[in-house]
Symmetry: C2
Subunit: 385 residues, 2 copies
Amino acid sequence: MSSQPEHPTLLIPGPIEFDDAVLQSMSHYSESHVGPGFVSTFGDTLAMLRKLFQTTDPASQPFVLSGSGTLGWDLVAANLIEQGESVLVLTTGYFGDSFADCFKVYGADVTQLKAPVGSRPQLPEIEKALKEKKYKAITVTHVDTSTGVLSEIEQLSALVQKVSPETLLIVDGVCSVAGENIEFDNWKIDGVVSASQKAIGVPAGLSISMFSGRAMKVLEERKTPVAAYFASMNNWRPIMKNYEAKKPSYFATPSPQLIHALETSLKQILAAPVSERFAKHAEVSDRIKKAVADLGLKQVASKPEDQAHTMTAIYLPESVKATDILPALAKKNVVFAGGIHKEIAPKYIRFGHMGVSVLDPKRGDVDRAIKALQDGLAECGYQKA
Amino acid sequence: MSSQPEHPTLLIPGPIEFDDAVLQSMSHYSESHVGPGFVSTFGDTLAMLRKLFQTTDPASQPFVLSGSGTLGWDLVAANLIEQGESVLVLTTGYFGDSFADCFKVYGADVTQLKAPVGSRPQLPEIEKALKEKKYKAITVTHVDTSTGVLSEIEQLSALVQKVSPETLLIVDGVCSVAGENIEFDNWKIDGVVSASQKAIGVPAGLSISMFSGRAMKVLEERKTPVAAYFASMNNWRPIMKNYEAKKPSYFATPSPQLIHALETSLKQILAAPVSERFAKHAEVSDRIKKAVADLGLKQVASKPEDQAHTMTAIYLPESVKATDILPALAKKNVVFAGGIHKEIAPKYIRFGHMGVSVLDPKRGDVDRAIKALQDGLAECGYQKA
């Protein structure tokens, strides 16, 4: 039995439904941010993040800061790129465009490889781009929350290693970390930026990231000062190292309650091999995608290999408006999200499937959502052709 | 009866002890950040902040962002100051120095007026400085958490209005908002930056600020782009306006749980006139300061008019080390903080007295802390001379 009151089931691509124990950790009594109890909690949490990201290289550096996921872009753009340096941004939706905007604010020379809506830049064109120009970094949105398009990190990394191994590989993992497999060391990733409120399963308010030893070296060897203060890795790196070594230190006050919730969630995540977690997300995602196809509906991500396992972006039938189906679903206590990709926004809806809604079949969240979608579409007058 | 488990009473200058209902709000079930329920909660919260800051000018703009209090400095430095513009930073401790560092990161031409430890820059020297050079902004730490020194905002404002009325008056209110009187409109303040975990009484994780219509005009009339992305007011201002108008919109995901906790705390704060809240903080502070004097101890803030009402920084007797008295207090379940001002760090301790510990006499927090301090010092071999 859940300790949460009855409420509509939140199945948007984040925030997701949270586990009871995680929510209870949010109410933890107040502690000093530099007291031994909390320092130990934060240190353990940082160590667990290494396991989630599958990195054993001691040079890898986790960062957990108070902020939205968006703050992770500032971490990358203000710390790893200097004024005028070139960045190649692979764009599969809204979030690639916004990451590019963030780089421009900090003076980067940005080249975007934009795929048509619903697909992703292909390896041959990426190879061509990497050969034409020297890039300090290449970025990729692992799952673009606006389209549900999944990018292949392993193959991309192999290409970067082959063509331009000195280029930093940066992954926007906001809608993928803890839902899609990420092998930080094996895939030679230099940075993954993420947030708490998606597959990591913790209320919003934490920017969570992992950077490689090579990225830290780039930071150390900057010719110009870091271009931010709160988002400066130089300010936070010693603090993160101290917390992990269980030593108190201070730059800005972290949120003990959010860190407790993150500790609780990471303990749950790491209680089983992470591969099982990713397999379960894939299995449930396949079931959802089959139900969508059975309804005669198409996904925004057109090819099966481009489809995320943490969410599904579904084109509506021409006869059904998002402003009709979303309220119809809400009446059935299921909350989906509307579209946010500006080229197609009114034409599709988004179904997030991460964390407890996927992993705990007793909740019945996914089956209830599929049924609600079937019934809701019928109520809106839709019949499969 | 509290619903919180037994735990040491946290009497550091933030985070503070939190009210049960506020902590329970942290466990709120998950909601969409753009759904009608949460949009209404956030909108009401922003409207209540106007009352806390005593501003009725509709041009005033509140911002509530996920982040530490430190993020407020980036908001000021990256949005209101352009490369090479001059800022006068009044420094009464560690936090004035750090605010100056933040300005430098964003390219400001910084002049610091530093007072000797335990005092504050005096009006005549501030007047001289303002007459010598044209400053875009002057900043003041209302209560410097490292020293417990209180600055007089009203008198400072009158001086700025007289000598250099076009200079923006920016207040670092991290350790003062909701504990010390701040009359945003009457005192012609252009910006107050604060955080959730001090007198506002909400777990850490929110940067909370208020800016004047004049500050917003400075933002609009910038000649160069804003120098940050996550900390860009241009990205957040329309979002804050939309939430307050109860319209959904998105730049980066806010934390529904922290916003619920803030709503709960602001409702409690505004249930009585804020003047009563400030008077109660002053009354309890006076009692603590008398107990400190009765023990034969001196405060870091030497003159009574320079002493904050939200915290007390206490010089230890020469015979007592911080590393002895702090653990002795901890054994009595009272948590004070050590010193952080680099010139005097080992010589003093800090006692925070804000929020429920001050306002709810049934808790007995303050009396227990005073008794623990008396007994702890005696155990450390101290006797009043």
